[in-house]
Subunit: 395 residues, 2 copies
Amino acid sequence: MNEQGLSEKEIFSYLENVKSEDTDYYRVLSSMCTHPHKIAVEAHRLFIEANLGDLGLFAGAHSLEKEVIMMLGELLHAPSVKIPVEKACESSVCGYLTTGGTESNIQAVRGMKNVITAGKKELGKIPNIVIPESAHFSFDKVADMMGIEVRRALLDSEFKVDPASVESLMDANTIGLVGIAGNTEFGQIDPVEELAKLARQHEIFLHIDAAFGGFVIPFLENPYPFDFKVQGVTSIAIDPHKMGLSTIPSGALLFRSPSFLDSLKVSTPYLTTKEQFTLTGTRSGASAAATYAVMKHLGREGYVKNVQYCMQLTAKLVEEARKLGFEPLLEPVMNVVALRVPSPDLVRDQLLRKFGWNVSITRTPRSLRLVLMPHNTARDVEEFLQDLKKVTAEL
Amino acid sequence: MNEQGLSEKEIFSYLENVKSEDTDYYRVLSSMCTHPHKIAVEAHRLFIEANLGDLGLFAGAHSLEKEVIMMLGELLHAPSVKIPVEKACESSVCGYLTTGGTESNIQAVRGMKNVITAGKKELGKIPNIVIPESAHFSFDKVADMMGIEVRRALLDSEFKVDPASVESLMDANTIGLVGIAGNTEFGQIDPVEELAKLARQHEIFLHIDAAFGGFVIPFLENPYPFDFKVQGVTSIAIDPHKMGLSTIPSGALLFRSPSFLDSLKVSTPYLTTKEQFTLTGTRSGASAAATYAVMKHLGREGYVKNVQYCMQLTAKLVEEARKLGFEPLLEPVMNVVALRVPSPDLVRDQLLRKFGWNVSITRTPRSLRLVLMPHNTARDVEEFLQDLKKVTAEL
């Protein structure tokens, strides 16, 4: 830091310059984030000072958070339980706005640990959870920090988790299962109903990571079962800052029951409220306002249009790729395509170096991973396939 | 969510109304946050789309994050080690921007667990850390989630942790110590040099929670030893969104050595980068830009003025409170006052109900806790003391 400060003009001329190094999402097919909606950006700015870590001082922002949780609860078919106002949550479902999928996943597993381990006295010292092999790398963080064992179940030929593999990994120390509704690599949805059956039989948690799919699946023409409508689903992670078109950081964690959220509470002696069940302390109220604004502005119709647009691009990409001889690993269930190409890592490098395309790679098997987002266009799809053809021809 | 969306006008007229329920920090003496600086808000807006969870796509925002970490490293006397570019950090100190003190504290303890537990093969199954009784409630979350034991050492008569008590709680399974530089309740600074001596002797971590004090202590007339200048301090949490006047969420975690940060890495198969050592995935680049802008704009001089202003208010409050017969529990070392009053809980309620003052309470002993922030004025102090006099007279 300099002794004396720089002028606003000097700083912004530097910042404008630096900003040109950031993507504007042109030729980006690798990200599950996109441009936030303009109304989300405006609402974010209006509430830029709001701190959801101190709810007594920010009653306005807190009421927006509660409205968002109620809207998300409705979207995800939360049971309409009436809960007393003094409880952690006041809507028909309990939850709070997180910084994103990772925090939501961590907190869901913390809930499993506190609720299920407490209820199972015969449990050994190391509880375990069973997750799909396709689970997001945030579960590696869970494994690293939580003092629990994370077991990975195999996928079937369609890249859904195999319930038989899940069951074979379960034992008396299993406190919960995880299913993914829209996994990061393939956009595939795990068989949530079968996982829920296992969870109910063993009286353990089932957490659904719908960070990406939560703002896609409910708006598909034929939605898959993945949410609280399925008995046995105990918590869901959903990210407004992905397909919800809100600003960063906007995640959400919803629990079926207030007791699960209660299990995360610690005392907060010096705040205007007495307890806190969130992972972070100081929290962005701006994100709550942004998410409120975009959900209210788009309504169900707006999100349906958004998903239709992305699914049409997805269908176009698959159809035209097939004409060029490239097959997808699976028929896309949402706006993610895993495309079989020769030497995918090399192709990825070439696409970036020669044509500026950002794509990524699935792990097993290795294929080109393409996410079709609202920032992409039909023309992008056409140009991408032309460039892919050139790159593979030169291999 | 409605079927059809509402208009921008309808939404903003509602949001403006809701916002009036949030504090504008008038008569707030309970918060360690304040209005962010105007330039921070502007820079935040400029980078509102930036996602530090995908560094390859947001190279500009990432360069700002690195510059902030370098400025913070310089402020906190990080050792000037040159580290190769391919390492996790490129400045003279390793670190990253977090969502705030809680994430920083969690990650520091995760670092202890991964580095120290790995190095001590004779360790039992449950490692422990020793923290001051005055540590922030974020350590209750650490205790709840990490599978380690958290031991609380006693404070001395000045509300600093007692090194003898710390030592008595240490054993072969102790992997780290925590010291607070500006504890939340009293604004007191723990004896960092003595804690560092213990940490060096036992070859374990010493994490300093300077979430609040990090932007205060370096700017005091006589700074206390608390940072990397003290041999043995291995990590520091510092929050730009508190006395750094940046936007929410802006925290930072700095490590003395790259190997500590490396120990937090997980693989990130589908991103433009291959590894991630942060707790959250998607991260706000807007906060990095905001913190960069306000640190560059204020410079050292600006922060010195900010701290002088708050310390003058603090001195004024203590001096005039004494005239009314109210003694502080300790001579304030930073801009936090713990004021001995009769029936503090009742006084707190009355101050809020009758006069709209937001104050809080220290736990042991119970006293009025007052934080003098940039949003407070000399007139606030005078009015507050008049109101305090009225409230206590009526007890």
